[in-house]
């Protein structure tokens, strides 16, 4: 998995490439942690994300919990197959898709 991140003001942009699975989820969590507290909004770019499991969904949920009340979590360029996972688990209800 490849992660690219940048903090612009209060917005944290995270682009993920490859597989976000049980093994790689902790890596993403560790990468986001330093900036997460200072961000009001988190934007995930999932254009190159091939695969996500419940471990990956937990990271998104943690981001949502972190910004709750201050801002929101947005998912961009989500493929239909991955979007179905967010919908079925009920996560889509509290996330913004672009």
């Amino acid at each position: 998995m490849k992660i690219e991140k940048k903090l612009e003001g209060k917005n944290l942009y995270v682009a993920i490439e490859g597989r976000l699975d049980t093994n790689s989820a902790p890596e993403l969590e560790a990468a986001m942690n330093p900036e997460l507290d200072s961000a009001d909004n988190v934007v995930f770019d999932m254009k190159k994300l091939d695969y996500v499991t419940s471990a990956g969904l937990r990271i998104v949920l943690n981001a949502k919990k972190s910004v709750n009340g201050r801002g929101e979590v947005t998912l961009r360029n989500v493929s239909p197959v991955i979007k179905e996972v967010f919908e079925i688990t009920g996560f889509a209800a509290f996330l913004k898709f672009e």
Binding site: D21, T22, T53, S54, L61, V81, E84, V85, I88, T89
Partner: protein, 591 residues
């Protein structure tokens, strides 16, 4: 680049050794009952009572044979249905089995009760003293027919559900009650042969009721289900279990032929030596017999699952573990032949002593040699190869031993019977190899060849992957492999994604929770198979029983991520089925 993970058959080995002790215990119950009865008969009643027990033996053998027929037939059929996730049919077979066993029991009780007033036992003995004891014994045993016949059926179904603790409690209770009731009825209250039989019967009722309590409770996976029973169900059980009962019949004919042959060429010393050897080595025969019951359960479930890999693993296990274990036991008995013989006879110059020593040296070798035939016939029986089963049962039951004995006994006396039994086993093993050569038109090169598994059985090698998971790293690797496999097989992107995801979620869940629930090491066997247009995932683990369906609807508002993997699978998969078979969690997901 993913690392190589293959299925290693270790799960079969673990299940095998977990199921084996209880089967040995069940097999030992009869031996304990006979020993305790004999002790009380000879010490507290007298030799005439012992003779009465001896005359009752054929009646008991017939009951055991019919009981065994029902057990074997229903266990094979139920195993196959369980493997194929057809629980309703399993429950139908359970109901038919219990009903048939009950009807046979009532019929047999009626025969027992009529035998005394109509004087039928006079056919067995003319000795008036023995006759009185025999009539008493018959009435006492009639009380124990229902718990024996039905108790054996319930024990078989408890084994399929892997309820080892309950079977152990029932078995130990039987042994304790049997001893106490023998002491009270026979030694203290002088109830003679009726007391001997009643003691066994009371013990059997205790055994039966402990088992029955489980099936009457709500925990049992198996319920008696009459709805959906077909006319052919009884015939199916009967024909599947018949070869085993025929085997018992052949053994009786073999005994009659040998009884006629041995006194002529080896005298009464030969008869005594053979019977002493058989009674001692017979104690150890409980182990290969129990091994066979376990193989039978594993094979029938594998056939139901259409799982070629597990099926051949059962046979591999026999070569890798069962034969070496029995070889060590056989060699140990052979090396200790003289000290063992000293337990029975004390004069080394006597003919019977020498004959027994040779018996103890040679007869144990039959145990490892018989295993390939026992397992081969078991597979043939489970897979419906009736001609082979009948040939093997007749040859191994009596043709082989009698033929070789007729040639060898006149030349080398009782040793001829010992060698005949060994040669019989070797030839029976060879017949299976010859059968494989004839059917495959080549010498068997793989276990599939050796077992002559039909080419269209289950899923072809290229259309399935079998892997074993040991830790979380394996889970992710396997999930990637599943995705690769799906893409190679032309499965669309969405289903390939789902297959990979379900595998990772479920196997990961087992590693995360199941592996940590006790201090044991665990394994997960994974199989992905494409059959026609179906994609089937099967996850089989040896952790504590866990039905994921119990979690699928649990949504925690405070923690939406809880049980997320399981909820995902149940929402997205076409079909999810869970069963606990032989103590293994088996989850089948259709993608």
């Amino acid at each position: 680049m993913t690392r190589e993970i293959r299925a290693d058959g270790n799960l079969i080995t673990r299940v095998f050794f977990r199921l084996l002790p209880i089967q040995i215990l069940l097999a030992a119950i009869n031996a304990v009952n006979n020993t305790v009865s004999s002790l009380f008969a000879t010490n507290s009643v007298g030799s005439a009572a012992m003779s009465a027990i001896g005359f009752y033996n054929p009646i008991n053998t017939l009951m055991c044979a019919v009981t065994g027929l029902f057990v074997c037939g229903s266990q094979i059929i139920c195993g196959k249905y369980m493997g194929a996730n057809q629980m309703d049919k399993t429950e139908n077979v359970f109901a038919v089995d219990i009903l048939s066993s009950l009807m046979f029991s009532i019929f047999y009780i009626a025969l027992h009760l009529l035998a005394v007033p109509f004087g039928w036992m006079g056919l067995f003995t003319k000795d008036p003293e023995v006759r009185v004891y025999l009539d008493q014994y018959v009435l006492g045993r009639a009380i124990g027919i229902i718990p024996y016949v039905l108790g054996q059926q319930l024990a078989a179904f408890l084994s399929l559900e892997n309820k080892t603790i309950r079977t152990t409690i029932a078995s130990v209770a039987f042994i304790v009650v049997n001893f106490i009731t023998n002491f009270l009825f026979v030694s203290q209250w002088k109830m003679q042969a009726f007391g001997l039989a009643l003691a066994s019967s009371v013990g059997l009722w205790v055994f039966f009721l402990i088992e029955l309590a489980y099936f009457l409770g709500r925990k049992s996976m198996m319920k008696i289900r009459f709805k959906g029973i077909k006319k052919g169900d009884f015939a199916h059980i009967f024909t599947t279990g018949l070869p085993g009962a025929l085997g018992d019949g052949y053994q009786t004919i073999r005994g009659i032929i040998l009884n006629a042959l041995i006194p002529v060429y080896a005298g009464s010393a030969g008869m005594s030596a053979l019977s002493t050897t058989n009674s001692f080595v017979g104690l150890f025969w409980t182990i290969p017999s129990a091994m066979l019951v376990v193989s039978r359960m594993l094979m029938s479930v594998s056939i139901g699952e259409e799982d070629r890999r597990s099926l051949t693993d059962v046979m591999r296990h026999m070569f890798k573990w069962s034969i070496p274990i029995m070889s060590v036991i056989a060699i140990a008995i052979a090396l200790l032949a003289e000290p063992i013989t000293n337990l029975y006879y004390h004069d080394p110059t006597e003919t019977v002593y020498k004959m027994t020593v040779w018996g103890m040296r040679l007869m144990p070798l039959v145990m490892p040699l018989a295993l390939p035939t026992m397992n081969g016939v078991c597979y043939a029986q489970s897979s419906g190869k009736h001609v082979l089963v009948n040939i093997m049962t007749a040859f191994d039951g009596f043709i082989g031993v009698c033929l070789f004995s007729l040639i060898l006994v006149p030349a080398i006396s009782i040793n001829g019977v010992y060698w005949a039994t060994i040669l019989n086993s070797i030839f029976a093993d060879l017949i299976l190899v010859i059968y494989s050569i004839i059917r495959n038109k080549r010498f068997p090169r793989t276990m599939d060849d050796y077992m002559v598994i039909p080419a269209d059985f289950g899923v072809e090698e290229g259309d399935r992957i079998d892997m074993t998971v040991r830790d979380m790293e394996d889970v992710v690797t396997i999930s990637m492999k599943v995705n690769e496999f799906c893409r190679e097989k032309g499965i669309d992107e969405k289903r390939a994604y789902h297959a990979s995801l379900f595998m990772e979620e479920m196997a990961g869940n087992v590693v995360d929770h199941g592996f940590k629930k006790d201090n044991r090491t665990h394994l997960i066997d994974i199989r992905v198979a494409k059959k026609n247009n179906d994609l089937i995932l099967r996850i089989k683990d040896d952790c504590k029983p866990f039905d994921p369906a119990s979690m699928k609807d649990l949504f925690d508002k405070d923690d939406p991520a809880k049980n997320m993997g399981i909820r995902m699978i149940y929402a997205m998969a076409e079909k999810v089925e869970y069963h606990n078979i032989l103590g293994l969690n088996v989850l089948t997901i259709r993608v």
